[in-house]
Amino acid sequence: MGEPTQVIPVFSGPQCAPSNPFCWDWITANWSSILGPSLVQHIYITLIAVVVGLVISVAAALFAFSRNWFAGGFLAFSTFLYTIPSLAFFLMFVPITGLSLTTIEIGLTSYTLLLLFRNTLTGLRTVPRSAVEAAEGMGLTPQQILFRIRLPLALPSIMAGVRIAAVTVISLATIAASVAPLGLGKPIFDAIHTLFDTELVAAALLTIALALVTDVIVVGLQYLVTPWTRVRR
């Protein structure tokens, strides 16, 4: 937050008419100064939120597995979360953590919890009875069954949650930029009150591309970590 926030888009260099909604010259001239760094920041913000959210959710789901009261409470809280306008939710933490990355991450991580916790718990609970019985027959303790049998077999469900969570975070992180100017939301908010459309469209298209590519990457990752689901019986 050291340097002042730039509000006016950069017109210098290439000649771009403000009315032109998509001017390549501006994009190539400003890739290394505006768009590239924003994209990298956006990926960074998303990664932190999803990884932290995943760690909390899996731990919470393992804890909640044999404790129904906890599962009910956690789900009720996270359902409530989705009715809150996201901007208001981000702003709620500003008095505590300031206009910082931490504020954004607290908000974004919270949003991943609903999806990841629910999917992890569903995954743990829908493991085939036969697999659990085989493990019991082999003499595994309930604790071992939870960690060595149920958790790995819950991976497809967990990864489906990661997929939605990652895309949701990418979307919400653009809004978070109005709280702390980080990521692809920054050029969007910088350009939204000007008559210059190229910056707006370029940042928006980049966000959309990031969301779509992430979706494909997570599907590929899911394919890689769950080889048994590809075996035809």
Binding site: L87, I188, L200, I208, A211, L212
Partner: protein
């Protein structure tokens, strides 16, 4: 805390006006989504074709960041109500579409066969058998889309459309955090009220036989 509570009384007229605008915008967006998504989802589900297409189109649309849509529509159509309405319809549409499709596609084939055996035409099967059986799942898609749309409609302010709760939520320098939280509270209440109201509609629309079957213990 006192600032938060007094905001409701001090700014009552403003909050009521913005709430009405917020409801109107959300209703319009959800209704447009229903009008497009329900016939489309029901038709494709009835034909039992194109499930790959619907599921993937749903996933792609669902991954579009709403603020990015707002930004692109600004460049294409400019600021205003059309802008935010398009963005909210894109938000709600995939939820209604995939749920309608999944519901109609998943209707028990035995039931459909029985209806065909009774001499019903395809249209009659769709309107009298498949759609009534699909009400619970279809309505759950509509209810989720309502919650998402109400919670996101404040972005109207960034799309240049005034008169929603976004006027307060996105203007912390004007109304302070207490104002933002007060307006957000109204938005939260709207989401829950609409969801409850749609729950009543769902109960009213669900065929008696289906409701009885859902309440009865599973026989298998």
């Amino acid at each position: 805390m006192t600032g938060y509570l007094s905001f409701f009384s001090d700014q009552a007229a403003l909050l009521v006006r913005l709430t009405v605008g917020h409801i109107l915008l959300s209703v319009v967006a959800v209704v447009i989504s229903i009008v497009i998504a329900v016939p489309l989802g029901a038709w494709i589900g009835h034909l039992h074709r194109g499930s790959f297409l619907v599921v993937n189109a749903g996933n792609v649309l669902r991954s579009l960041p709403t603020l990015a849509i707002v930004a692109i529509v600004i460049a294409l159509f400019g600021f205003g109500y059309v802008n935010i309405t398009v963005a909210l319809v894109i938000l709600a549409f995939p939820l209604v579409l995939t749920n309608t499709f999944t519901a109609v596609e998943g209707v028990d084939p035995g039931t459909v066969e029985a209806a065909r055996g009774m001499g019903m035409t395809g249209w009659q099967i769709l309107t009298r058998v498949e759609l009534p059986s699909s009400i619970p799942l279809m309505m759950s898609g509509i209810r989720t889309s309502w919650v998402y749309v109400v919670a996101t409609a404040y972005l109207a302010t960034f799309a240049g459309a005034t008169g929603t709760l976004g006027d307060v939520i996105a203007n912390i320098s004007g109304y302070g955090l207490t104002g933002v939280l007060a307006a957000a509270t109204v938005s939260i209440v709207l989401a829950f009220l609409g969801d409850a109201l749609l729950g009543l509609v769902e109960r009213g629309l669900t065929p008696t036989g289906l409701a009885l079957a859902q309440r009865a213990p599973a026989t298998t």
